[in-house]
Amino acid sequence: MASAARNLISILLEKKSAIITKWFNLSLEIYPPETVRNLKNINQQFNNPVGHTFYHAMEGIFEQLLQETASEKVALYLDKILRIKAVQDINPSQVVSFVFQLKRIVREELGDVTFSNRALMQEFLDFELKIDDLSMVAFGIYTDCREKICQLRLAEVKKKNEILERISLLNGHHYQTFDEQEGVGDDLK
């Protein structure tokens, strides 16, 4: 088992660069082609923060998956990607799709050799289980991010209301709550 693990990991290490590049490129397919061109400038940390973050976080995730036990760092890398995707105009399945795409890329890269070697195959299945675990962590982080946006919005609504209430009192007026205002905050009523 240990020898098979070394084998799989050594194969994946050897193909690391190709796997990460393919994984990164595939994950960008949810974006329009004009945007993909920009996102691929992965060395521009500040002018292309999205592409840079995605690439380096994916690299980090992959390296963690090659460890015997992935550390909590893997959640931090996932967070970096998901925090961005959670505010973009993409649906939830597209947001987490990149995690599952890693399975496809790894299978393609390993080729038929893996599937004809029983020990290697077992290692590969274990590796896929790690990716499944990763997907569950990803779902959790994504929902946390969405919830955070709602919390931020509510905090801002509360702050605005407090200020308006104070001003209304200072001005000697009755304070209009959302329910009394037409057209504003309809989705909060």
Partner: protein, 537 residues
């Protein structure tokens, strides 16, 4: 019977976006990405067109019957009036230099947020109606028919541009996409398509002098509250005045700083400094707002709302005007005020009564920024500062778009910060004239637009995260009231552990005042590190 999809159909997920051209991809209004429309009542106050109750999510936007005619006539009039607009419509060669410079494009990946394509929304209509090639060749010449869907697209994308002008820094032709957005918003206003976060402050400003609609007695009460806080912290009583005729200086801060933290702390710092310098200044209860949301409405509205500043300076008989820590206010004051409401020949070129420095750059407008005033004081050793009171606060500076790009205020805030705290710069490509927007300027800082703000603010937050991780930066300083409102949630989302402050809050902390008691708390009433009150045991 309901058609149940087959297993293969369910598994056949295409991640790629639809392959329609930009003209054929209509806008979808999803929650979190647009702002509430202007309240009818506010539109009526300032006489804006077509007041009504409507929502961008509705199919029917209740446009005036002749909306098309109004838009085309409005565009024709503006093409004649503004030579810059006609040039901007004609000369773009679509080189793409601006494409990846917009913070909304970087954060969202939506190609219509590329400045070139945002401008193309207007250009396509211009070509169709005002150029021969466009009239004859239509789509082949990049022309497009004006329809209600185009208006919806304009509304979506012109209210997704914060008029920050970062793209214009990179345009080899100097096309200012912010001005294209401004014209786009002007045209939309002609048919009553605007947002409440702009229109209601405009109406408040017109009626009461400030965005929040605070009446004179409210302003005085709020000021008293801040003054009491200063007394609690320093033991010193200061007495700012309102509408005092014959004062040397009229001081105009953004009204948000009177009410909303952390702006209040920054205003307190300014009041403390003015007191310590013995400045002869007054505030006006009508020119009680430096900001001008007319800038996000129309040129006429900019002029209308700005007029109060010179009018009040004249009425009160001051010599010159000092402006507070505000952002877009400075584009108006620096670039438009003089020609719109000047010449201010009744005022004098600002001279610091403390150092004698003559602010020659303000010869025409007669108004300077408070960081220019303070930097000059520090440069001339007129202020006693104890930076150790800001111990534990590790600061970086966010250049607010308008002070940086529209008035060139780059060094003064940094000079001040370096004298009052530990300061670290963000990477070069994210500061000064290349600064990234907070994502909520130009009226887009509303709560309902939160998701879009998080997208647009990501490039800024990314640079903050870098200095947070590298140097332990925990405070993002800025000189803009909108920044102080929009950056805190941005930091909470992207870089928890970083707070936001104005530059003068840190000055106020460090300022050694004549006769003050031992400071044990900073302006936020937080204990000062190493200077805690002696406790009785």
């Amino acid at each position: 019977m309901v058609k149940v999809p087959k297993k293969e159909e369910l598994l056949n997920i295409d991640y790629k976006p639809p392959k329609t051209g930009w003209m054929e991809t209509p806008v979808v209004f999803k929650p979190g990405t647009w702002c509430y429309p202007g309240k009818a009542e506010s539109l009526q106050i300032v006489g804006l067109a077509n007041p009504r109750k409507w929502s961008p999510e509705d199919d029917d936007w209740k446009l005036p019957e002749n909306w098309k005619e109004i838009i085309l006539e409005g565009l024709r009039e503006r093409l004649d009036r503004f030579r810059s607009l006609r040039i901007f419509m004609d000369i773009c060669v679509r080189c793409g230099a601006c494409a990846d410079k917009c913070h909304f494009y970087i954060g969202s990946g939506d190609p219509k947020n590329m400045p070139v394509l945002r401008a193309e929304l207007l250009r396509a209509i211009y070509r169709k109606n005002f150029t021969t090639a466009g009239k004859i060749f239509g789509k082949f010449a990049g022309a497009r028919e004006l329809t209600e869907d185009v208006i919806k697209e304009w509304f979506y994308y012109f209210f997704q541009c914060t008029e920050c002008r970062r793209c214009s820094v990179f345009c080899p032709y100097g096309i200012d996409t912010a001005e294209i957005t401004m014209i786009g918003r002007e045209l939309l206003n002609l048919i009553g398509c605007n947002i409440d976060w702009v229109v209601t402050p405009v109406a408040n400003c017109y009626m009461k002098g400030n965005h929040l609609g605070i009446q004179p007695h409210g302003l005085v009460d709020s000021m008293e509250f801040l003054v009491e806080n200063i007394t609690d912290i320093t033991g010193i009583e200061i007495e700012p005045t309102f509408n005092r005729k014959g004062a040397e200086i009229l001081y105009v801060p953004p009204s948000g700083d009177l009410f909303a933290d952390p702006g209040t702390y920054s205003l307190m710092g300014q009041l403390m400094l003015f007191h310590e310098m013995g400045l002869d200044y007054t505030l006006s209860t009508y020119a009680s707002e430096g900001g001008n949301f007319g800038l996000f409405t129309s040129h006429e509205m900019v002029k209308r709302l700005n007029a109060k500043i010179y009018a009040e300076a004249k009425r009160l008989g001051v010599k010159w005007i000092l402006g507070g820590e505000c952002g877009h206010m400075w584009r108006v004051l620096h670039q438009y005020m003089d020609t719109m409401n000047g010449p201010a020949d009744f005022l004098e070129v600002p001279v610091s009564p403390v150092t004698g420095t003559k602010f020659e750059h303000a010869q025409s407008t007669k108004m300077i920024h408070v960081t220019e005033f303070t930097a000059d004081l520090i440069k001339n050793n007129k202020v006693k500062l104890d930076p150790s009171r800001n111990k534990g606060i590790i600061v970086t500076f966010h250049d607010s778009c308008n002070p940086a790009r529209a008035m060139g205020l780059l060094e003064e805030p940094r000079f001040i910060l370096k004298h009052v705290c530990d300061f670290y710069e963000m990477p070069d490509e994210t500061i000064k004239e290349q600064t990234f927007c907070c994502g909520g300027g130009a009226g887009l800082g509303s709560d309902e637009n939160m998701e879009m703000r998080m997208r647009g603010g990501f490039p800024r937050a990314n640079a903050v995260r870098y200095v947070h991780e590298k140097y332990g930066v925990n405070m993002l300083s800025c000189v803009c009231a909108i920044d102080r409102a929009t950056l805190p949630p941005l930091m909470h989302y992207w870089v928890p552990g970083v707070e936001v402050c104005g530059v003068h809050e840190l000055v106020g902390n460090a300022l050694i005042m004549e006769g003050e008691k031992k400071r044990t708390e900073n302006l936020r009433f937080e204990p000062l590190e190493g200077m805690e009150e002696d406790e009785d045991v």
